[in-house]
Symmetry: none
Subunit: 216 residues, 2 copies
C-alpha cells in the first residue's frame, strides 16, 4: 500500500509515517502541501491522509488539486475541528472519511484499511489469472507465476486500476519511482511480462497507456 501523508505538525506526521511503514507500507510524507503538489503523481497512491488546517494552503484546497488527477483515490481528512460544518465540507469534496485529533494510530489504521481493502485483495483478472495485491503475486490456476520486482509493481498498479488506463507517467512514477527511463523501457517490460503469460491481458490503449480489461 502506498500512502500520501500531508500534515504540517512534523511530530504527528512522523509518527503516522513510522507507524504505517513498520507494517510494510510505503508512505510519502510532506509537511507542506505546496511542496507535495510539486513533486507527486497523485494517481500512484492508495489513499491520501490530509490535515485540514495547514499554513499556505488548507487541506480542502490541496485535495481539490489532487482530485483533478486522481478522482478515485480515497481521502481521509485529519482535523482538529469537530463541528459538523467541516465534516459537511469534507464530504462535499468527496471525502471518504475524516478523523478528529487527537486520535489513536490504531484507529487511523482501521479507517485506512477499511477504505483501501474494500474488496478482497485477490483480484480476478481472467478466468484463470488472479493477482494478490497484498503479496504482489500472480497466479495461473493456483500456480504462482514467477515475477521480477518491477513486474510485480507494474501489475500492481494495473490491477489497482483494473478497467482503467494507466498512463506512462503514472507507470514511470509508480514502478520506477520517478526515475528517468528510456522510452522503450516500459515496452520491453510489457513484452517480458506478456511472454510469461498464457493469455495476454495487458492491453495497450494507443496514445494513453496500458490497462487490464475488467471482467464481468
Amino acid at each position: 500500500m502506498k500512502i500520501l501523508l500531508v500534515e504540517d505538525d512534523v511530530f504527528i506526521g512522523e509518527s503516522i509515517k513510522d507507524y504505517f511503514e513498520l507494517q510494510g507500507n510505503r508512505v510519502d510524507y510532506y509537511s507542506s502541501p505546496i511542496k507535495a503538489l510539486e513533486e507527486i503523481y497523485p494517481n500512484n497512491y492508495d489513499i491520501f491522509l490530509i490535515d485540514i488546517n495547514m499554513p499556505g494552503m488548507n487541506g480542502y484546497e490541496f485535495y481539490k488539486e489532487l482530485k483533478n488527477y486522481a478522482s478515485d483515490v480515497p481521502v481521509i481528512f485529519i482535523t482538529a475541528y469537530s463541528d459538523i460544518d467541516h465534516v459537511e465540507q469534507a464530504f462535499d469534496l468527496g471525502a471518504a472519511d475524516y478523523i478528529k485529533k487527537p486520535f489513536d494510530l490504531k484507529e487511523l489504521e482501521l479507517r485506512v484499511k477499511r477504505l483501501v481493502f474494500k474488496k478482497t485483495n485477490e483480484v480476478k483478472i481472467t478466468e484463470n489469472y488472479r493477482f494478490d495485491l497484498n503479496k504482489l503475486k500472480l497466479f495461473y490456476k493456483d500456480e504462482e507465476v514467477e515475477l521480477t520486482q518491477n513486474e510485480k509493481y507494474f501489475l500492481e498498479i494495473l490491477v489497482k486500476n483494473i478497467g482503467q488506463v494507466v498512463d506512462s507517467e503514472t507507470l514511470k512514477d509508480y514502478v520506477w519511482d520517478g526515475k528517468d527511463i528510456c522510452s522503450n523501457t516500459i515496452r520491453t517490460h510489457v513484452k517480458k511480462l506478456r511472454n510469461k503469460l498464457k493469455e495476454n491481458f495487458i492491453k495497450n490503449v494507443r496514445g494513453s497507456g496500458y490497462k487490464i480489461e475488467k471482467q464481468q
Copy 2:
C-alpha cells in the same frame, strides 16, 4: 430517495425515519430483519441502513440475503461495536460505510448522501449513447465504443458544447492544438467517427461547423 432501514432499537429507528422523511425521502422502517425479508423488494431502494446487532438474524446475514437481489445498492452498517473484526467483516461483505452508535443524525445524512449522489460527469447524447467527460469515453448501452485520441478530443469539445455549433477554428484549436491542418482533415475524422456509430448524432451545420443536438 428511498431508504430501507432495519434497526431493532425502535427509538433510534423512529428517529432516523423521521429525520429522513422530514427531508422528503421515503423510509421503509423495520425493527425485524425477518419481517423485512418477507415484505420488501430489495431492488427498490437507493440505500440500506442496517443495524448489525439484531435478535433473530444479525445485520451481516440479513445483508447477504439482500445482496442476492440487489448487489448494487450501497449499505451502511450501524454498529455499537468498534473493534476491527466487525469492521473487517462488514467490508468483506461489501459495505459502503459503517457508523458507530451514538451518532449525529446529520452525520448519517452526510454519509448517506455521499453514497447515493455520487457525482458523475456523464452526458447523455441520445437514448443509447452517453459520453463520460472525465474519462473521455463513449458508451453505447453500457458498452464502450473504442475511440482514438483525436476522436476523444473531438467528441469532448462537441459534448461540452452540446446543442451548440462548434466551428472549425475551435475544433482545430481544441483537437489539433492550433496546428495547421488541411481543410479535409476534420471531415475525414467526422467520417471515421460516424462509421463507428450506430446513430449519427454528429450533425453538420453548413457554413458553421458541427454539433450534437441537445436531448430533451
